[in-house]
């Protein structure tokens, strides 16, 4: 389990390991769905170096709009 470099959520799990053993792993964040490969640049894999403009937290995630909007259910 790792911490998400983008939203700092805990509990990011491995979704894939390189078929050639030991080269890299791919992780996925359960909160913001960020995905990264361990061989990517530190500016992507290290939360302290992730671009501040693209960092997320619970407050920012709460401002996301639904696209497209969810319509009303039809009357039976």
């Amino acid at each position: 389990m790792k911490t998400c470099p983008r939203c700092d959520a805990e509990g990011c799990s491995v979704v894939y390991q390189s078929p050639v053993a030991g080269c890299w792993e791919v992780y996925s964040c359960p909160r913001c769905f960020f995905i990264w490969r361990t061989t990517e640049a530190a500016t992507i894999t290290d939360g302290t170096r992730y671009h501040p403009k693209f960092k997320l937290n619970a407050e920012k995630l709460g401002t996301f709009r639904n696209v497209p909007a969810i319509p009303s259910v039809r009357e039976a």
């Binding site: 791919v26 769905f33 709009r65 639904n66 319509p71």
Partner: protein, 479 residues
């Protein structure tokens, strides 16, 4: 001229010197994104790129980029010589478009049914996903054909949609998708969600280029992309049935995913570096559960680089964005000569038209904004006279600089609709739009001092041919 599948088209590109096979081992990041950006700098005749040696994967995985990322490759897609000028490609496109519809051909033996997975799906086993641009929220499938139906009218073949939407890979069998409200798939999703049921979808990855191009074309809601692909390729389009969804699928696809959009659910998606040249903001977007995967042996993952224009996307959707606006405008106003909506998918469009009375050009410009595509694009419309080639920006700039009077020829429409990805929209989805009338005023709108334009001297065309011949001869002597 039809290509049965992506592999047939890649072979044609190879035969024409338009496919560059990069054999050295590369990292999925940042090499593929970097190469995708770099190839756009090689000019209007740049090749497609094939990579098949990735750090961490056994040999056998392949990625192609920039498949129609040049006018040369676009011409080959149409079965034309690779040096066919853009304007000729446009009018050939128009000619074939007018043969719509061409009925489809159902086939039983789709190559993608060679392998089938319905349990313990892990999409990463099948395709080498990667990040394109540094701040993308994940790995994307950005050039696939997404097929869905209108559940209120499921037997209407024309309403079955084939579209290209950005798809974020979120997990082993879990995707995010972004159909913006103007797109046909958003209508299908709205119908399903009003009914409270999941929307069945199929995602076909790695198709021959005509159906992918048609999937990126703003056809009318009840027009079939498959029947239009048949018109463009000059013979019936081959399709196969999805085993789980019953949806119609491009027969030659490398990989097909079948699944469902989960009704009334949204999840964080993005940002993603978009065709506008900027990152879209993050949004809550629909989610897809993948239930089945079908694929050919050693499937080819086709993707395209997106970034500041021009990229492959601009070649892919340039002419086919012009076409429906041209056709729909011409049906209302036969005076329209040509439409260039090649820039940023038609956020700006240039229309050349004949004008018979004052105010006519402005009406043509306003009509473009109310075409189906114009509702989400056509933020800036430039209308020029019939003597101006809208594909020649030097001529357009001449018309703008000499025929446009800012005090009389600018119309602004406040608070109009626009696609949410336009970074200047405020709020997202709303913008002011303008029509710039750069035509010479005609009766009764008499104003200005538009003297006779300078026609070329009588011998000009003859001399152009003579000079070209002499120049070619002199180049030959120098060799």
């Amino acid at each position: 001229m039809a290509y049965n599948d992506l592999r047939a088209f890649l072979q044609r590109l190879k035969d024409e010197g338009q496919l560059l096979h990069v054999e050295q081992q590369v990292n999925l990041e940042p090499d593929l994104g970097g190469a995708g950006r770099a190839v756009t700098r090689l000019g209007d005749n740049a090749p497609a790129l094939l990579f098949d040696n990735f750090y961490g994967y056994e040999r056998g995985k392949a990625v192609v980029l920039n498949v129609v990322g040049s006018w040369a490759n676009h011409a080959l897609m149409l079965g034309l010589p690779k040096n066919t000028p853009v304007k000729e490609q446009f009018f050939e496109f128009v000619r074939r478009w007018n043969t719509y519809p061409v009925s489809v051909q159902y086939m039983e033996d789709a190559p993608f049914y060679e392998h089938e997975i319905t349990d313990e799906i892990n999409l990463f086993d099948i395709l080498p996903f990667f990040r394109l641009n540094d701040h993308d929220g994940g790995f994307y499938i950005d050039k696939a054909c997404v097929i869905s139906k209108d559940l209120d009218d499921p037997d209407h073949f024309g309403k079955e949609n084939v579209g290209v939407y950005r798809i974020q890979v979120k997990g082993k069998d879990h995707l995010g998708i972004q159909p913006v409200p103007m797109h046909d798939m958003a209508i299908h999703l709205r119908v399903a969600e009003e009914r409270g049921v999941n929307l069945p979808v199929a995602i076909a990855i790695g198709c021959e280029p005509v159906i992918t191009t048609m999937a990126g074309t703003p056809l009318l809601y009840d027009q079939s992309e498959y029947e239009m692909a048949g018109a463009i390729q000059g013979e019936p389009y081959r399709i196969a049935r999805g085993k789980q969804t019953g949806l119609d699928l491009p027969w030659g696809a490398e990989v097909v995913l079948e699944g469902e959009v989960i009704a009334r659910k949204r999840e964080p998606e993005g940002p993603f570096g978009e065709f506008t040249g900027t990152y879209s903001g993050g949004r809550n977007a629909p989610a897809i559960k993948v239930n089945a995967v079908y694929y050919r042996t050693n499937p080819i993952f086709e993707t395209l680089y997106l970034g500041i224009p021009w990229t492959e996307l601009d070649y892919m959707i340039g002419l086919n964005t012009c076409l429906p606006i041209y056709q729909q405008l011409k049906s209302a106003f036969p005076e329209v000569v040509a439409v260039n909506a090649m820039y940023t998918h038609g956020l700006i469009a240039i229309i050349s038209t004949k004008t018979y009375y004052g105010g006519f050009a402005k009406a043509v410009g306003l009509r473009a904004m109310t075409t189906p595509h114009g509702l989400g694009y056509c933020k800036i419309i430039i209308v020029v006279d019939a003597d101006i080639d809208p594909f020649d920006l030097k001529q357009v700039m001449w018309a703008l600089s000499t025929r446009f009077a800012p005090g009389k020829d600018l119309i602004m429409i406040p608070n109009a609709s626009i696609l949410p990805l336009d970074p200047s929209a405020e709020p997202a989805g709303i913008t002011h739009k303008i029509v710039i009338d750069a035509t010479v005023p005609v009766e009764p709108d008499v104003r200005g001092d538009f003297a006779q334009t300078i026609d070329p001297p009588a011998a000009t065309e003859q001399w152009e041919q003579t000079l070209r011949s002499l120049w070619n001869e002199s180049l030959g002597k120098d060799k």
